[in-house]
Symmetry: C2
Subunit: 193 residues, 2 copies
DNA sequence: TTAATTTGCTAACAGGCGTTCGCATTAGTA
DNA sequence: TACTAATGCGAACGCCTGTTAGCAAATTAA
């Protein structure tokens, strides 16, 4: 798969991500993590700074990926409906590429301490604002019949962000198929799907 | 408001719910909880059995409320689309009546230990299955154009269950208005809203 | 009044927590 | 070869955790 092997630090991050996802950040101990890696708890500190250090890396790496994926959509010159479709697909792609990290990003960020927490909030707001912008565009040109773009974006993200709970890479739907399904459902509704 | 005053135990549950919601179960200490109530940590145990005892009560009380609300919809003789609308409204009503407890119910249940955890899983599955039944009905009689009822119900619940994150009782939309908005969005989509 | 119940305090327990320290071993590089 | 960096051990630290025990007030019921 990947040509260069993972550094020990990256291994730790990966295993920690898996534990944070399934047990939660607070309920995962450094001794659990060490056990999973076959080493002693103290040994972890040859590679990482602290427990929260790991969480920060996971959260902000995912934030970067979401931003990167969205930026490829942002300035395309297409109708709002189509742009929203592309944004959904981009979001779903990031979400499904690493469901474990996505789960941590979505559920464990609140265990960040300041100033990381504020920075995280800001990035998230920015991302949501960009989506609202698209919806506003669609409302303005008559594509969307809805009026409350805040509510729409919250609902949109809510339905997307549950994905990491049940998505399995070996499942029968590909990320792109999932994205298409969700786009259709949200844009056209159950009745006109 | 309520005629009979809250027992100390109910007070504890309520304050604990608020803390579990905002900080998470694992990150809330009994000393935090006691502080909030103006007593010492040890004093809590004159009223409750254990920390998880509180969590169990909150989770299963909410589960009961969701079931009760849904049961009033279940056997009504209306088209699937209308029944789904009613179910959404019922779900939203429970969610908004006590957003704090709803948040705990939705996010902290995984800290339940066996056998409560299995019982919780079963109840949840049952609830979701009932919703899938409605969607299947709608697919069978041509009301819904969609084919994958599992996916639909997951998306439906996902968008509803984020509500507790931002709903404020003093906000400008009533629970019924929220329910109507969400029903329209999901049934008709952004374009045909 | 007496008796029972509710409510709370203080102190302590046994164990778990994230983290540090000094030292050893291994692997890579020149 | 010798130097350096990566990797790990094991013990210990100071603190925090849920919970218990024994006792004392306060409240309520009879």
């Amino acid at each position: 798969m990947s040509s260069t092997p993972m550094s020990r630090k990256e291994q730790i991050d990966q295993v920690a991500t898996s534990l944070f996802k399934s047990r939660g950040f607070a309920a995962t101990t450094m001794r659990d993590l060490a056990l999973e890696l076959g080493i002693e708890a103290g040994s972890l500190y040859s590679h990482i700074k602290s427990k929260e250090d790991i969480l920060q890396r996971v959260c902000f790496k995912m934030a970067d990926e979401f931003n990167a994926a969205f930026n490829e959509v942002k300035n395309q010159d297409v109708p709002a409906g189509e742009k929203l479709r592309l944004a959904v697909a981009a979001h779903v792609r990031v979400l499904t590429k690493n469901p474990q990290a996505a789960g941590v990003f979505l559920n464990e960020w609140r265990h960040l301490s300041e100033p990381s927490l504020s920075k995280f909030h800001d990035m998230r707001f920015q991302y949501e604002e960009s989506l609202r912008e698209i919806v506003r565009e669609g409302i303005a040109n008559g594509e969307f019949k809805v009026t409350d773009e805040k509510f729409v974006v919250l609902t949109l993200l809510s339905s997307l962000n549950w994905l990491h709970m049940w998505y399995k890479p070996e499942g029968k739907m590909s990320p792109d198929e999932i994205a298409e399904f969700l786009s259709n459902l949200l844009l056209n509704g159950l009745k006109n799907f």
